[in-house]
């Protein structure tokens, strides 16, 4: 059931995709190839896939931890933006003399930025019992405003022809690439290490155990004496920190500058990644790869099929919707209840007696 449901959901999504292509008069085979074959057809495509998948997996891992603790951090997108802003802030200070060590500062600044943003949610929840779903979601919009303010204002590139963007960062702040000729960079290594650490945290550490008990059975956590406040903070700081790191890696990787288009919806897509991955670190890696295929497929669909890029969102949505439906319908069955003659009769009987 754990693995079956996502696979079933994927096949239904594919079927619905075929129907969708047929309805708009496109060749469904061509459509499927764009989404499911093009992104993995050769080594270049595969390395591009890792660039898309890295932030999704990083954020998804953090969210998996938070959701296991029943802490509903919906605002990873905002934490991702803050991570990008903090990383950019550090990158802007670099000049010709700066050494490679600045990358480490960028990483830590990005993590700190994401944690800071998540901490606002944690504080409001802890102090005033404000709903963390709403608070973290609304903080996304504030983060976007903050980003806009910076790129339209103080951080705008003086030589940028008045475009809302920072100057491109110094080469020293850029992540080293793994293989000559490919854009794939060391963020892949960071992701792999994070997967291992998160796995150990969830399944081997006592803190991870406490976090899960708090999520699975709050009364048992109370009985055992685990502090639900502490768990709330851990869940939000870890998920915020990882989202921030993802933002930092984007800035130090493919983006190379800050623009209003930094938020690409990774923070929201990662919610789907976490759930399709069943909140398991290995599952998150697989589902992160799948969702990034949708991203790349959506972009290709524009040029190859002349279809809107919104197709990415449609596929993501279908996938999540189908997963939820599969999970529910595997455990429950729809049953038609007839207003039977029997119950009408028994009603009459009662009324007569009354």
């Amino acid at each position: 059931m754990v693995v079956g449901s996502p696979l079933l959901a994927l096949s239904i999504t594919v079927l619905m995709g075929i129907a969708l292509f047929l309805m708009v008069g496109k060749d469904p085979l061509k459509g499927l190839l764009v989404f499911f074959y093009e992104p993995i057809k050769n080594s270049y495509a595969l390395t591009e896939l890792t660039i898309k998948a890295s932030p999704l997996i990083l954020i998804g891992l953090g969210l998996a931890i938070a959701y296991r603790a029943n802490v509903w951090n919906i605002g990873a997108e905002g934490q991702y933006i803050l991570g990008a802003i903090f990383a950019a802030g550090v990158s802007l200070t670099a000049d010709k003399q700066t050494g490679r060590w600045i990358l480490l500062v960028i990483f830590f600044a990005a993590i700190f930025g994401g944690m800071l943003w998540a901490a606002i949610t944690a504080l409001l929840r802890d102090r005033f019992n404000a709903n963390e779903i709403l608070v973290s979601l609304m903080l996304v919009y504030i983060a976007q405003m903050l980003l806009s303010y910076l790129v339209y204002g103080p951080w705008k590139d003086p030589e940028g022809f008045n475009f809302p963007q920072t100057k491109t960062f110094d080469a020293v702040t850029q992540l080293p690439r793994l293989i000559e000729g490919f854009r794939m960079n060391i963020s892949v290594v960071i992701v792999v290490l994070t997967v291992i650490v998160v796995y150990l945290f969830i399944f081997r550490s006592f803190a991870g155990y406490q976090l899960q008990v708090t999520g699975l059975a709050p009364r048992a956590a109370q009985y055992a004496g685990f502090s639900s406040r502490k768990m709330l903070w851990i869940a939000l700081l870890v998920s915020g920190g990882l989202a921030g790191l993802a933002g930092g890696l984007e800035v130090a990787g493919p983006l190379n500058q800050l623009t209003p288009h930094v938020p690409a919806g990774y923070g929201f897509a990662a919610i789907i990644v976490a759930f399709i991955g069943r909140l398991h670190p290995v599952g998150v890696v697989l589902s992160g790869l799948l969702i990034s295929m949708f991203y790349i497929g959506g972009e290709l669909a524009q040029s190859r099929l002349v279809m809107p890029r919104a197709l990415t969102g449609v596929f993501q949505g279908l996938m999540l919707f189908n997963l939820l439906a599969c999970d529910t319908l595997i455990h429950y069955r729809l049953k038609k209840i007839k207003g039977s003659k029997q119950s009408r009769d028994s009603l009459k009987k009662i009324q007569v007696q009354a």
Partner: protein
């Protein structure tokens, strides 16, 4: 006479387990028929089949001489089968009449319901206020709401699932009067229980189930307690040692005028609770549930840390505001009544559940879980307490109530507590497991542990405890030796009527 209900060859299989294997059962009109069996014997499955909640794999059901295929509970109710469940389904913030109205298959006016309700309550002597809010009712009254709801349908067959598990002795007798009256008017009653004492009082027919099969059909009034239990379990239950007098050891736990306002709307205020618990004794707390037991237990366990530090003193250290972990380190163990979701996490394995309270340096080093040590501890508990489980990686929810309770008790006892607080240790637990748990508590007491036992079962309290106290409306009665107490006296105290402290003092002076 035509049988009201006749089952023949009813079978139901879950996976490799036959919950029911070819069960035959006949209930005549106006008969009170007991269905006796341990937890897991197949009673519940059989009831669910009769009430249409579960489809049998094989077998036939005839009702009033007609072969029926019961589709669902609604169908069962329309035939005239009503059921009162062990766990009530009532809305606490609605009135009795509103609750009854909601439970009926089709809506009709509140006025009609109230009218009909008054007739029934009068006819059967069931005291119940239609306008009272359910949260203000005692457990016994809540059960009456369920019974009235069932009677409103004029059932021909009433199924009662362990109805006395939450009642005071007096309330049990009241219930029996109602049931006898119902039966005399021709209603058949199927009475499910694992309590051996009450069945001869009520029934002339008793079907005994074991491992999904009918073992015997007997007249319980011609059987002894021992013969019934032999039939039910296939062996003699381990005999209970006689109650022995208080050890009079060191004072382990002192509660000084513990007063706590209720934490939520439907809670109970604790008022001036005082007692001392000494090593080598079991102090029993009797009372109808909802009289402050859960509030007292939370304050003692550390789940509720609002108490002033000095109001709870454990081994001479004030602990009123400390966390459960600190209290455990000082030698306090706690077994709450809810197993799934409180003393155990249902979806986690038994090994993982060990860690819930047993997480000292032997199991967790620098924040890392020592998997092997945890699994070994789980295996040790399983072996020592005869827990029936596939292995230490079985999910807690997959165990039967009795086995999980043995596991939880074992987990706490193996940490060698100096004070053990136990609440309803045999609630929903089969007779065999209950005997093992009782024996374990006695052994622990004899080794010098101080035990506080909160229970609603007077039989259990009288069997085990050296001293008894009653809690009612958040107050403690005077504490008396259980050898001086009678069931009637405790029953009366449970409704809050106990002599004032001066009177007790005088009595003691008089006897001295």
């Amino acid at each position: 006479m035509r049988a009201r209900l006749q089952l023949s060859g009813i079978s139901k299989r879950y996976g490799s387990l036959w919950a029911n294997a070819g069960i035959d059962l006949t209930v005549s009109p106006g008969e009170i028929h007991a269905l006796l069996g341990e937890n897991g014997a197949g009673k519940s499955t059989l009831m669910k089949i009769i009430y249409g909640m579960v489809k049998p794999d094989a077998g036939q059901i005839s009702f009033e001489g007609k072969l029926v295929d019961i589709q669902n509970p609604r169908h069962a109710r329309s035939l005239g089968i009503a059921m009162v469940f062990q766990h009530f389904s009532l809305f606490e913030n609605l009135t009795v009449a509103e609750n009854i109205c909601l439970g009926l298959d089709k809506s009709f006016s509140l006025k009609q319901v109230r009218h009909r309700m008054d007739e029934i309550t009068e006819q059967y002597g069931l005291e119940l206020q239609a306008q009272a809010y359910v949260h203000s009712l005692s457990v016994g009254e809540r059960q009456r709401v369920e019974i009235v709801r069932a009677l409103l349908m004029n059932p021909k067959l009433l199924i009662l699932d362990e109805p006395t598990s939450v009642l005071t002795p007096q309330a049990v007798q009241k219930l029996f009067v109602t049931l006898r009256q119902l039966a005399s008017q021709g209603c058949s009653i199927l009475y499910i229980s694992h309590k051996l004492d009450e069945i001869p009082q009520l029934c002339q027919h008793c079907t005994i189930l074991r491992a999904g099969k009918v073992i015997a059909e007997v007249n319980p009034q011609q059987e002894s307690r021992a013969s019934l239990s032999r039939l039910m379990m296939g062996e003699e239950p381990s005999q209970c040692a006689a109650v022995h007098s208080p050890g009079g050891g060191f004072t382990r736990l002192v509660v000084n005028s513990l007063t706590l306002p209720k934490a939520h709307q439907f809670g109970v205020d604790l008022q001036n609770i005082c007692f001392e618990l000494r090593s080598g004794e079991i102090l029993g707390v009797a009372g109808v549930s909802g009289n402050g037991q859960s509030e007292l237990l939370s304050a003692l366990s550390g789940e509720d840390r609002r108490a002033t530090p000095e109001s709870i003193v454990l081994n001479s250290k004030p602990i009123g505001g400390t966390w459960p972990k600190e209290r455990r380190a000082l030698g306090l163990g706690f077994v709450p009544e809810e197993r799934l979701g409180r003393s155990a996490v249902p979806t986690l394995s038994l090994a993982d559940n060990v860690l819930l309270t047993d997480n000292t340096s032997e199991r967790v080093v620098y924040g890392w879980i020592k998997r092997k040590a945890v699994a070994a501890q789980a295996r040790a508990i399983i072996n020592q307490y005869h827990v029936k489980a596939a292995n230490e990686y079985a999910a807690a929810a997959s165990l039967s109530g009795g086995n999980l309770q043995k596991f939880v008790v074992g987990r706490e006892v193996m940490q060698l507590p100096q004070v053990l607080i136990v609440s309803q240790p045999t609630w929903g637990v089969d007779v065999n497991s209950a005997a093992i748990i009782h024996q374990e508590l006695r052994l622990l007491r004899d080794k010098g542990c101080a035990i506080l036992l909160v229970s609603e079962e007077l039989e259990e309290l009288f069997q085990l405890c050296d001293r008894l106290v009653v809690i009612a409306k958040g107050r403690f009665s005077p504490i008396i030796k259980s050898s001086d107490a009678t069931v009637e006296q405790i029953g009366q105290w449970m409704s809050g009527l106990w002599p004032q402290p001066q009177a007790i003092l005088k009595e003691e002076h008089a006897t001295a």
